[in-house]
């Protein structure tokens, strides 16, 4: 059976099995979840090893099967250089988050079942190549998220969950309209029927006249659809000004869910833009992204950094730093240089690992102190040295220290975008100062300085927590030293995509 | 030619047993007697099946109905009522209106039997049917067959659940 299919559906099987377990066997549920995320992780590793890094056209491990033939909806999955990194990230973070969720005691079975369902949805989004299938997975992942925040969240969980849900649903609605518009205006050249197949949609020769140059609401159709899709994805990224669901959702969500939320879900926005907006409407992309997307990216970077600086809740600070870091991804994509676009996707991956670490670390301290107020600690480095070591790695990675992974991607992004827009790049580069500011300031207030006597005998990080952090820390360091490991994977696909789009500049 | 003369005789005998005991079931006041009569009806019906060249069905009829359902019924009777208690045995009420309805139905059915143009084919010699039925079960009727097994399973489980005393107490 196809490896991608297995990776997507093994967690579903796991979810069903967990639901069927006896009521009081919480540990069985946990280990079941471990097994059903470990298998996809191993598959991801084999995918990483066997992926053909030279193929720049089309997809690998592709499967096409009829699903709903009357509407030409297919079960079509496959990976290329863009999605494989995200598949790897999803598999890894899902696995680690199971361990990070070990401490959940409320409705354990339901939690893990929903979590696995979420995992399947995310994986599905990244591998599906049929737009309908994509949309189905997109929605599948939304629902477990709603419940995970809404049931296992913090004090204002209902508000956060509903805000998240409605926001994303608004994006989904715009996306659905665009999907339908694309469907009715894309023709499969073989059968001469409408199709949901993304690969077909990426070939403008299959588009109808209307889709190529028609008018709607007095605007050109590609621009309108591009914008609708973009808003749908921008909400997920989250791009300014659609970002306010993020801090709320993060603050209320349990640790593992925050990790998934920031580590994987945010990437879906930028992934969607790269997978859908760019190849399907290269001309509109060239028109709009050049200034618009880049400007949004820069606003995200600077604004997110400034907001982060003003936070008193550590988790909120990390959430806003995510907003800032995702800005780099947009800036890089909008640069239309190979450095920029490669940097953008690498940044997606690196942000996934770094921010996952950050949220896990916040979770560690929250589990012990039951609050996250930055000013409420002090001098923890003295009592929790190992923990502080991990904190240092994560914080310095987040502020872009060379030698750690995020530096490579940020430098590539800024280098790439400099060619298109030096002024914007300079403004974005200013944020390296700001990020150093808020990160170090937080580090200083919580971990350095005189010890707060209240936490004099706080418990050092335990083995399970170390287990979740070590792989991420290793990745952060390894990719800082040898980024080629990931750059190799995506280079061929991204460069050909960049070629398609930059033709229209 | 003896065969020729024997067939109606046997038929009428069987028909008489069947119909007679059926009416016995209908009109006896004691439910226990009703059950005994039912047994005879079922056996008679089995005989009639044989005459219709349905040997396998007949055997199944005897096994399932007589050996299974009837015994079950008798058990139920014994579990639910004391035999001596005649008053709750098997009264039937409102006989008169029911006769009216029965008459109406009987009339219309007989009329239908007589007036309808039944499609009749040449009757061949009776042959054993087990092989053909078994074959049909595992080819053409495989899905219904499996479904039937599921239904039986469900009925089994349902019957167990319904008749367990302690569960009711928990719920009640």
């Amino acid at each position: 059976m196809n490896i991608l299919t297995l990776m997507t559906f093994i967690p579903v099987v796991g979810a069903i099995v967990i639901l069927c377990l006896p009521r009081d066997k919480d540990n069985w549920a946990r280990w079941g979840a471990v097994v059903t995320t470990a298998i996809p992780l191993m598959m991801a590793v084999s995918l990483f090893i066997n992926f053909d890094r030279t193929q720049d056209e089309g997809f690998q491990y592709e499967v096409i099967a009829n699903w709903i033939p009357s509407f030409n909806i297919q079960y079509h999955v496959g990976v290329d250089g863009i999605s494989i990194t995200m598949v790897l990230l999803t598999a890894l973070l899902s696995f680690l988050c199971i361990f990070a969720s070990w401490g959940i005691t409320k409705a354990v079975k339901a939690y893990f079942a929903l979590f696995l369902l979420l995992d399947a949805g995310m994986m599905g989004v990244f591998v599906s190549l049929d737009f309908f299938l994509f949309f189905v997975f997109w929605e599948v992942m939304l629902l477990p998220m709603y419940f995970l925040i809404g049931i296992w969240g913090g004090p204002r969980k209902e508000y956060a969950a509903i805000k998240f849900f409605l926001y994303t649903l608004l994006g989904s609605a715009l996306m659905l309209i665009s999907i339908l518009a694309l469907y009715f205006n894309t023709t499969d050249p073989l059968t001469m029927t409408n199709t949901f197949d993304m690969v077909m949609m990426m070939d403008q020769a299959n588009h109808s006249e209307w889709l190529r140059g028609g008018q709607i609401f007095g605007q050109s159709v590609p621009l309108v659809i591009w914008t609708a899709l973009f808003i749908g994805f921008a909400i997920k990224i989250p791009a300014f000004p659609f970002h306010t669901w993020l801090p709320d959702a993060h603050v209320e969500a349990p640790t593992a869910v925050s990790v998934i939320l920031a580590g994987v879900l945010l990437k879906m926005g930028t992934y969607g833009i790269l997978r859908i907006n760019f190849p399907m409407f290269p001309e509109a992309t060239a028109q709009l992204a050049f200034y618009f997307l880049a400007a949004v990216g820069v606003v995200n970077i600077v604004y997110g950094a400034l907001c982060a600086m003003a936070q008193t809740d550590l988790k909120k600070l990390v959430a806003y730093s995510s907003v800032s870091h995702m800005g780099y991804v947009m800036l890089g994509m909008a640069s239309f240089t190979e450095q920029g676009i490669n940097g953008a996707v690498l940044q997606m991956f690196n942000h996934g690992t770094v921010t996952a670490m950050l949220f896990l670390l916040v979770g560690v301290i929250y589990d012990r102190a039951h609050h996250r107020n930055i000013d409420g600690f002090g001098g923890l480095a003295g009592v929790m040295p190992v923990y502080t070591g991990f904190v240092a790695i994560a914080f310095f990675a987040a502020l872009g220290l060379p030698g750690l992974s995020a530096f490579i991607s940020e430098a590539l992004v800024l280098l790439g975008s400099w060619q298109q827009n030096p002024m914007l790049t300079m403004i974005a580069a200013l944020a390296v100062i700001l990020s150093a500011g808020y990160m170090l300031w937080a580090l200083q207030r919580i971990w350095l300085g005189p010890l707060n006597e209240k936490y004099a005998d706080i418990e050092e990080i335990n083995r399970r927590e170390i287990f979740t952090l070590v792989p991420l820390a290793a990745l952060v360091i390894y990719l800082g030293i040898y980024p080629t490991a990931v750059l190799d994977l995506m280079g061929a696909s991204l460069n050909s995509l960049n070629g398609v789009v930059s033709k229209f500049l | 030619m003896t065969e020729f003369s024997m067939f109606p005789v046997v038929f009428y005998l069987m028909a008489a047993i069947t119909v007679g005991s059926a009416f016995g079931v209908a009109f006896t006041n004691n439910i226990f007697y009703s059950a005994i009569a039912l047994m005879f009806t079922l056996l008679g019906a089995a005989g009639l099946y044989v005459m219709l060249a349905a040997d396998f069905v007949a055997v199944v009829q005897v096994f399932v109905y007589v050996g299974g359902i009837l015994v079950l019924t008798l058990f139920a009777i014994n579990l639910t009522s004391r035999i001596g208690d005649v008053s709750v045995s098997n009264r039937s009420l409102g006989r008169f209106p029911s006769f009216l309805v029965l008459g109406l139905i009987g009339y219309s059915m007989v009329r239908a039997i007589r007036t309808a143009a039944w499609n009749v084919v040449e009757v061949g010699d009776p042959v054993p049917t087990i092989e053909a039925i078994g074959d049909a079960f595992l080819t053409q009727y495989i899905l219904p067959f499996e479904l039937a097994s599921l239904v039986l399973l469900a009925a089994l489980v349902g019957a167990v659940v319904l008749s367990r005393k302690e569960l009711k107490e928990v719920r009640g």
Partner: protein, 102 residues
């Protein structure tokens, strides 16, 4: 007169009427169930008769077997329900168990 389809149908009708009578007039739940058995038997008789006289294949017999199967299931469930009713009301007189009445 040669024994043919009609004869069997008449017998079946008689059994059916007897079953119907049971169903309509009995106050004892088990009696009603017995009536149902009679009705099912008459139906089976019809199946087999038509299978013998009006067709060349075994479809009728197959259906008869399924009917028997269903009858078995029905009896099992039905009798279990009767037992349940008895445990609840301490009678199986259907007139006494009219709590469904508004």
């Amino acid at each position: 007169m040669e024994i043919g389809l009609t004869h069997f149908l008449v017998v079946s009708t008689m059994v059916f009427l007897a079953g119907l009578f049971c169903v309509l007039t009995r106050r004892n739940a088990i009696g009603i169930l017995m009536g149902v058995e009679l009705i099912l038997n008459s139906a089976n008789l019809n199946y087999l008769a038509f299978s013998r006289y009006s067709s060349v294949n075994y479809d009728g017999q197959m259906f008869a077997i399924f009917v028997i199967m269903l009858a078995a299931a029905e009896a099992a469930i039905g009798l279990a329900i009767v037992l349940g009713i008895y445990q609840t009301f301490h009678t199986i007189d259907v007139e006494a168990t009219d709590t469904l009445r508004l």
